[in-house]
Symmetry: C2
Subunit: 134 residues, 2 copies
């Protein structure tokens, strides 16, 4: 059941600060996959960058439901799980999004770890439900 | 393809130290679930405690494949994903396992956050495959 703003206000800081979201997706044979990502939160959507070759992108094209697990780096017993659906996958041809993430997480203007030929997309998640602790 | 020891030796410290594993499971409708847990690593199996009422226990009884995402708390750009299968679910009637975890993570002899009537089990995961970064 989607609601307009399912993120509890008292946990919004976990999305605003440079925390890591462990993103679980479901693979082609129904098996889970899980890894940490940088992400953006605009108050309505959680977005993260991926290179187009990654399994995670193919996973969410097939099965858009995802689950993000986020710990407060200052208190690991305070955490938020966000379940949602991938609403769209946008291109990032000029790397504007990954550079914005480099600013948020590294404090630099340009993403320093790009490889020649990398093609990037932005995976945009609409939160639908949360569970929380702490 | 299961192998005897799929954990890279240079990442074993992430399993030995009191890090948190974000455990992804798959729910009844094929959707992912994801949350952090304490865990034990005996050199062959990763084990974590759950109360029997938790959705996660029902999930792994139905779909034993799981994916654990673990960040180095001292360097978030060093991480390990462990994919594996739940090999068995053991009872923990005297709370020996959860107390052992309280020792590892909190440095205390007895788990301090138990609730009256809590029934606990130990979910035992056999690692099959890893991905890593850093």
């Amino acid at each position: 059941m989607a609601v307009a703003d399912p993120i509890p206000a008292e946990y919004a800081d976990l999305l605003e600060r440079p925390t890591f979201a462990h993103v679980a997706t479901v693979g082609p044979d129904g098996e889970p996959q899980n890894n940490p990502v940088w992400f953006d939160w605009d108050g309505e959507r959680i977005s993260f960058s991926q290179t187009t070759g990654r399994q995670k992108v193919r996973n969410v094209q097939r099965e858009p439901r995802v689950a993000l697990s986020i710990i407060d780096p200052d208190n690991p017993y305070r955490y938020l799980e966000v379940r949602g659906v991938v609403e769209r996958i946008d291109p990032d041809p000029d790397k504007a999004f990954i550079d914005k993430m480099a600013k948020k997480y590294l404090g630099v203007d340009a993403y320093p770890w790009g490889q020649p030929g990398d093609e990037r997309v932005v995976v945009v998640v609409r939160p639908e439900h949360t569970t929380k602790m702490g």
